[in-house]
């Protein structure tokens, strides 16, 4: 109590447990299987509710409000649209037009999806909101990715920052906007850290492969079957050890950058201090444990990662957190939501 002038900080906290989540998860799984997948929409809601309601900051929790029926309808629309699109694209010229049209529809669907997810999420009884223009969405999700590909992904940090600017700046809570902007240097730091992981691992794998092949007589090397086994093994090792964890390294660094440069109108700030190597360790060991337990320890693995992320996230409020006032809700369709499901994009909580 000596430092009364020091700003108060509020830690994010996850109050769920792996045991409890296992029960919810396995029953979700069972009902999904026996209903031929239909229940998965309700399972998704239950999953989100479990994690949101158990996530606390400043003594108040989050909640997720979509209903299973909304999610189901969204998914059915997306499946029908996908089949229709596949059929249409079989017609030579029309297919090309359809593909081009899709490029212009995707930003619209993404905006809808962000809006739906935001409106269905709340903290402390106040709903989130998302508003974003079509043109910025088109730039961030269609044009910039094309340009980035042209630079052989060397400018990927710029793309990533543009996407984060668009999505985060579009969000608000109870009339208070989120704002995010960051210099490019820390994004490149993350990029180079991931590149360093790839190079380091490739060197280790390369030297192992070389030392194994080196023992084979070079004259018979081309015909020696062991050489090709080692070579193919090396390629798998490259993919699983060098490339996949590098993505996690990048994301962990960027998570810190993103949250540390995020603010909520009124002077509220966030801090994230995850250790990228710890996140990689958790991710790798989680993957192994999940596979070795035939999936049964997946709930434990999920809680382990989620808790780690929550514990390394902090809100630095500027004064009381009672002034957020929700707006009268407008209707949000579930169509966009299903789209993010299929694309694997889920903004979720900042944890």
């Amino acid at each position: 109590m000596q430092y009364t002038t020091e700003p108060q900080i509020e830690e994010f906290e996850f109050r769920g447990s792996a045991r409890e989540w296992f029960g919810v998860w396995i029953v979700n799984l069972f009902l999904t299987i026996i209903t031929a997948g239909i229940y998965s929409a309700w399972a998704k809601v239950r999953t989100k509710k479990y994690f949101y309601q158990n996530t606390y900051v400043a003594g108040r929790n989050f909640d997720y409000h979509a209903t299973g029926l909304q999610i189901l309808i969204g998914r059915i629309i997306m499946i029908v649209a996908f089949i229709a699109f596949s059929i249409v694209s079989a017609i030579p010229l029309v297919g090309l037009v359809a593909l081009l049209a899709l490029l212009f529809i995707v930003p619209f669907l993404l905006i809808r999806s962000f809006r739906f997810n935001a409106q269905m999420s709340s903290w402390s009884n106040v709903r989130f909101r998302f508003e974003g223009g079509y043109v910025p969405a088109f730039l961030a999700f269609i044009l910039y990715p094309i340009l980035t590909a042209l630079t052989l992904y060397l400018t990927f940090p710029f793309l990533d920052r543009a996407v984060k600017r668009f999505t985060l700046n579009g969000h608000s809570l109870g009339g208070h906007s989120f704002s995010f902007d960051a210099p490019i240097a820390p994004f490149y730091k993350a990029f180079f850290a991931a590149a360093a992981w790839v190079v380091g691992m490739l060197m280790i794998i390369g030297s192992v492969v070389f030392s194994m092949i080196g023992s084979i007589d070079p004259v018979t090397l081309a015909e020696d079957p062991t050489a090709s086994v080692v070579l193919i093994g090396g390629i798998y090792a490259m993919i699983f050890i060098a490339f996949f964890p590098a993505l996690t390294v990048y994301r962990a660094f960027v998570r810190n950058v993103t949250l540390n440069h995020l603010a909520l109108e009124g002077g509220h700030e966030f801090v994230s201090n995850v250790q990228p190597m710890t996140v990689v360790w958790i991710a790798i060991s989680n993957a192994l444990i999940t596979v070795l337990s035939l999936g049964l320890l997946l709930p434990w693995a999920q809680v382990r990662l989620y808790r780690y992320l929550a514990e390394h996230t902090t809100l630095v409020p500027n004064g009381p957190l009672d002034q957020f006032v929700g707006q009268i809700e407008t209707r949000a369709g579930a169509m966009g939501d299903a789209y993010t499901d299929l694309e694997g994009i889920d903004l979720g909580l900042p944890v």
Binding site: V24, E223, S228, A283, N286, T290, D346
Partner: protein, 346 residues
């Protein structure tokens, strides 16, 4: 509750409509009228005769009741809420989810269900997806695969133009024996590549591109061997085996995403990309189908299907290596026997 007429008091807190402000409060439930009484003396009525209906419980997360005006009452008093909620669907589901011995039964049923999905639902999905795939997409897959192959393992062929022409003639002979519809459905292209490390080998891509390695052409100066191997590969194209493998791995990913949910970083990538990498190996069933198709086609085009057997015989035993023709095209004794039977029986 025995004293059914006694009002019940549940402690908690209330968030007034659309506000983030939390005020300590109690919910007072009685048959005639239920209200939330906030500590600052504000009253939040539920309406006359309206019984409170809490959200479905999930784990030990706090229990939530939304009032008619949009205010939210929240409590940790699970026992009291459960008593109000007796017999509801939500409570039954919640009870089923408890971490108890009987969950073992659910786990077993899940494994059985997952097996059934794998055995029946997945093949059905793959069949529908293959049927829906338009030809331009198949050709795009071919172009993409050849690009990455040329970028990674494949070197330009060292075969003379003359030699290539000889093989092309065999290929055209085979194509001319295909039924009209099978000939028109795909854009058959024969490509020559020098791919060190995979030995004498050939592969078929979904859109009709067939790649033959220099090692195969150089190692077997035998029209019947080349003819029957190419016929086998044409069998993969006609049977759409490449697409089936691709969709199989995509299907596994979608099912896992749908059923198990978010698998977390790394494992997610392994499931998606790793599945596609693994899908490049062929299944035994597809090999048998392609054999069946190939030996008939080779024979019709005037090549001796026994060439395929000579090819098998000339290869080193499998088991030593994971990359030769025999492992990507598993040659069980059964398979050789089937070919032999066909040759003997004609």
């Amino acid at each position: 509750m025995e004293g059914g007429d006694q009002p019940v008091k549940i402690p908690g807190r209330i968030f007034p409509a659309r506000s983030s402000r939390a005020i300590p409060a109690s919910l007072v439930v009685s048959p005639e009228r239920s209200v939330v009484l906030a500590d600052d003396s504000t009253l939040f009525p539920l309406g006359d005769g309206v019984q409170p209906k809490f959200d479905m419980p999930v784990g030990r997360a706090s229990r939530r009741l939304t009032l008619p005006d949009g205010s939210l009452f929240e409590t940790e008093d699970h026992a009291a809420v459960d008593a109000l909620d007796r017999g509801s669907m939500g409570l039954r589901l919640h009870r089923a989810e408890r971490f108890r011995a009987r969950l073992v039964l659910i786990v077993v049923l899940c494994f059985v269900g997952a097996w059934a999905v794998w055995r029946f639902a997945l093949p059905a999905m793959v069949t529908v997806a293959v049927w829906l795939t338009p030809a331009p997409l198949e050709q795009a897959i071919d172009a993409g695969s050849m690009q990455s192959l040329d970028l990674t393992f494949a070197e330009p062929t060292t075969l003379s133009g003359e030699k290539q022409d000889t093989i092309q003639v065999i290929f055209d002979d085979l194509l001319s024996e295909l039924p009209q519809d099978q000939r028109d459905n795909w854009d058959y292209t024969l490509l020559f590549r020098d791919i060190p490390g995979i030995g004498p080998n050939a592969m078929a891509l979904p859109g009709g591109t067939i790649v033959i390695t220099d090692a195969l052409v150089k190692g077997f100066d035998d029209e019947d061997v080349i003819g029957s191997v190419l016929a086998h590969e044409i069998g993969h194209v006609v049977g759409r085996h490449g697409l089936q493998q691709l969709y199989q791995s995509l299907g596994i990913y979608i099912l896992v995403a749908l059923i198990a949910g978010d698998t977390g970083p790394i494992l997610e990538e392994v499931l998606l990309e790793g599945g596609i990498v693994l899908s490049l190996s062929h299944s035994r069933e597809h090999e048998r189908e392609a054999d069946d198709f190939g030996i008939r086609l080779a024979e019709e085009a005037g090549y001796d299907p026994a060439g395929l057997l000579r090819f098998f015989a000339a290869l080193p035993d499998s088991g030593e290596t994971d990359t030769d023709w025999l492992s990507t095209h598993p040659a069980s004794g059964e398979r050789i026997e089937a070919i032999q039977n066909y040759i003997d029986g004609r």
